[in-house]
Subunit: 324 residues, 4 copies
């Protein structure tokens, strides 16, 4: 399907449920896509960091992307992460994603290697030329250990290389500078890059990003409560910033479930992904909460704590059934 220009709204990074053998559980994944689309989201981001893309083999990536596209069934666009170390390897993923029917690609800067900004620019330009799909830059320094500068993004937005940015840098000052340079809150979509979409991955400050002129959000915890991010987005679009902030504040509280895994025993990433999946399991959306190897699983106590927090958030009834 044609991507709206600019792409906007709530586009969650779709978790990847696994079966007991560690393979993609496509039935659970289909239910998750329905859970998200029913929640009102405006798009889906498959094969992102929250999808555990770094833990999936090429075959598993194909299976997962195919399942998301099939389940979405044209109701919302599907963006496909094409995450790998450098251009030639990313291209292989991009061609597969295009063949499977993805509506857009999402690529990071090169990683593992150290790369110059001019090399990063060439990377994105080559991807855009080689595969005929809208291309989003995924700025995620915590994973790739370099930051896309506002000036580089602006250059690639204005020359048409990029259809958008997914900003997971956590650097809200840089994001504000970029938004302002691109025309600001009122003139951005009549400015030098009118269809360019800015999506924040900073799921705890979405009200702020929207107030600054961002077009949407890619929230990991949107897997758990997509409707709340849609309410937040709608409140912002209608100019009801107090309401948007109140929704955000509720989601900040809910987000604390990522801390249930003790830092001394597991990575923060394992804890967060495990908590998202445990929540989806509590809600009856997916069959198992397992994360991919070698991530450590949450303890039974931690899983139970996730349930208590869902109850506190009104997402689970005290007896344990989904409140939705």
């Amino acid at each position: 399907m044609a991507l709206p220009a600019p792409l906007h709204g709530v586009i969650p990074p779709v978790c990847t449920p696994l079966d007991p053998r560690g393979e993609i559980d496509t039935a659970s994944l289909t239910r998750l896509v329905n859970h998200l689309v029913d929640g009102g989201v405006h798009g889906l981001f498959a094969l992102g960091s929250t999808s555990e893309v770094a833990y999936l083999t090429d075959a598993q990536r194909g299976t997962a992307l195919e399942a998301v596209i099939k389940a979405a069934d044209g109701r919302v666009p599907v963006l496909a992460g094409v995450i790998d170390t450098t251009t030639p390897r990313v291209l292989d993923h991009a061609r597969t994603a295009a063949a499977l029917g993805a509506d857009a690609l999402v690529a990071t800067a090169p990683f593992y290697t150290r790369t110059h900004p001019r090399e990063i620019a060439a990377h994105f330009r080559h991807l855009r030329t080689a595969v005929d799909l809208p291309l989003f830059a995924y700025d995620i320094p915590v994973a790739v250990h370099s930051k896309l500068s506002p000036s580089l993004v602006r250059e690639l937005a204005e020359d048409g290389t990029l259809a958008g940015l997914k900003d997971s840098s956590g650097d809200e000052g840089s994001l504000r500078r970029l938004l302002t340079a691109l025309g600001g809150r009122t003139a951005r979509h009549s400015g030098p890059a009118p269809g360019f979409s800015v999506l924040t991955g900073s799921e705890l400050t979405v009200d702020a990003a929207l107030l600054a002129g961002a077009d949407g959000v890619v929230p990991g915890i949107g897997n758990v409560d997509p409707a709340a991010y849609v309410r937040l987005y709608d409140a912002a679009r209608s100019g009801d910033w107090e309401r948007a902030a109140a929704e955000q504040e509720r989601l900040v509280t809910l987000f604390s479930l990522v801390d249930v895994g003790p830092e001394s025993e597991m990575g923060r990433s394992s804890s967060a992904l495990g908590a998202f999946k445990a929540a989806l399991h509590h809600l009856g959306v997916i069959d198992r909460s397992a994360t991919a190897f070698p991530q450590r699983p949450l303890s039974d106590d931690a899983v139970a704590e996730v349930g208590r927090r869902l109850t506190a958030a009104g997402l689970l009834k005290p007896g344990g059934a989904a409140a939705l």
Copy 2:
């Protein structure tokens, strides 16, 4: 003077003008304080990073703080930075600041050394006990290379050690988690730390911080245009978030003057501080734009560019006179 609880509003970190010998230019500093107070600010932060505190000898620190307090003359409270490597050295500065009449102290975590969170907690507790002034924690990882965790700040807020936080971490997600944990937008000042003040140093996202429940801002470029931050603050307080965002956007554009110094020739910090001082010199507030040794000065071209940007921002008349 007694500090409001919570301290709120616009509290700029006051630049420190220097004379041709590199000593404090107290006449210029006095004019700068008047420029800020006339702009409507709610407090002054002397001897912060923007004050070039790291470049001032103990004698110069004393001279600068004394001049700010004298010029403020009780119209607004004066917070004094007590920036040094560890507790015993910070205490020396704190006692001097108290003797000179500062209304509150602002201290970072220890730096140069590597310190455990429990050691950082002991550091703040000892400072609070040893000197009878409200104490603000200054979270500035770019300078001290550690981050104060939201849980640590919360603990020190709730037990009364800290009167507030100046958050220059740039980590808006953590800030949001802290604000939410302390009661959120509506309940924070009736919560577990009712008088605790949260001030953001992220001067490009002040509208967002205020929307999230922060109490105020410590903006470096507030030296140049204090009235604009006061307008932003007032718009936010009245719930006019669109107006607040528009003011913020204008300040983001103005802020770009920090980039006039080329990165290949000087540190980013020298460029930013040089640009603030060049702007204040253009505006007729201070006599010279020199920064402290060993920072490199802006070139004449860069200084002229600062002038052009002030004109574009409506702060200078085309002929060069201050527009205010």
Copy 3:
């Protein structure tokens, strides 16, 4: 072929020559392998960072590894890098490498994701169990942004998971602590992990590593002058440390050719890899000096400077022919 236990000596990371289409130039690669084996090296490390593994597609990785194994023809063992983000993806590479006849595997800690030490240990243990080849840990924080602690390596050495370590951490103090804990210079190979091999990737301090008890070296610039590293190794083995240090010093001087690409125009990695390949082209070993996309090529001036430094090192005759 069976790997010596411990593996020792000079094991260069083999550069990957490319043809005009960017594909593997197997004829050049065969000549490079012969150049290295003729230089007296004790093993070959294919598909390492210096091999530009991060820039090669899966198909290209297979082609390159196959060519190296075929050219080595059992004269020296071939270690295969299996570089990817996490265990499931690394396993795919490991199975391919085993099928192609690699003699050992070299794997890093997971990257892109953030991983806990217990997760890293599980990663190596699972690789060792799933593919029946000796496994080396590749400690390269500059690429994967985590460091393998001496205690973790020791644990995995003592339980037989690891056959060795390739230490590219640059942390010589940690390496010394590991070597000492494993029994030290005299007792290491009769200690708790007798066949465990410690190879340093710190090519500028190989004399020091051998003096401390390391078994060998994986030197990038060993592509250019393998015989010199063999002389260094032999001097060390014979206890002639002055001679070893003199050889090392000559190689430090030669190594400076990695700086010919200006830092303002290209990544340090592109400059180093470009210089190694330009040197191999000057020496007549490979047909082209091109590096993989999106790395920027060295300028003609930089390539000429590489030639001058080879001449100064006695590797090229003034007229340009290889002096060997």
Copy 4:
């Protein structure tokens, strides 16, 4: 006293014993100086990181330096650390050190601020001009968060700004490049900076540094066992590298006492400094093992473990008396 050119040998960073009030225990400090000079050291470095300089007030710094100079009594030269954020503050310390009779100054790059290499060069040049004492650069990125590049050090060595370098960067490859560029093992002291002294702070690889041409070492654990470092140095000077390596290996084992404090409860720095002081207390050199506030003290168990390790190293008799 005039400093040898180049300064060479073992120059320990002198620990600073504290009394029950946290003030300098000059009697213990005097005994420590005698312990070091009796051990055969070639110089003393007062007010360095290991001296807890970051925790000492200006008054305490003066007291400690005066005591070290008085106790050294001209038997060996005393280098004084002048550790502070930037040039103007460092100058205050430098003038005090000169007045107290220090034989040389040791200064880091600026910290807390971010500084450009040209600003760092100006910093050292100004210090050298303003105070007439030999000046050593102290390269300690773990504390100041910038690295002195080999090219910058070389420039300041060749123009006479610096009398030497104390390299605590842990970057042995850079150190080797510097030593080679300055003339190498045989020609360095007849090269472009003949009297320039290179001292390593990497106390676990001193044999390697001396083999590479370094002039000496500044070892923290040299407080505990100075004679062993002197034996290591003498072995190296006589070309007995096997003996040097054996001495180094014994010191690596002894060094592990820095790990007695659990990482979950205290900073690594507190653990290391506490262990050095606990060892000196066990040896009867100083009266108390207390470290400066806000560092956490070692537990009784950890202190006992230090004693056991001293016994294992042959420094304490089983009954607890010093074995020396």
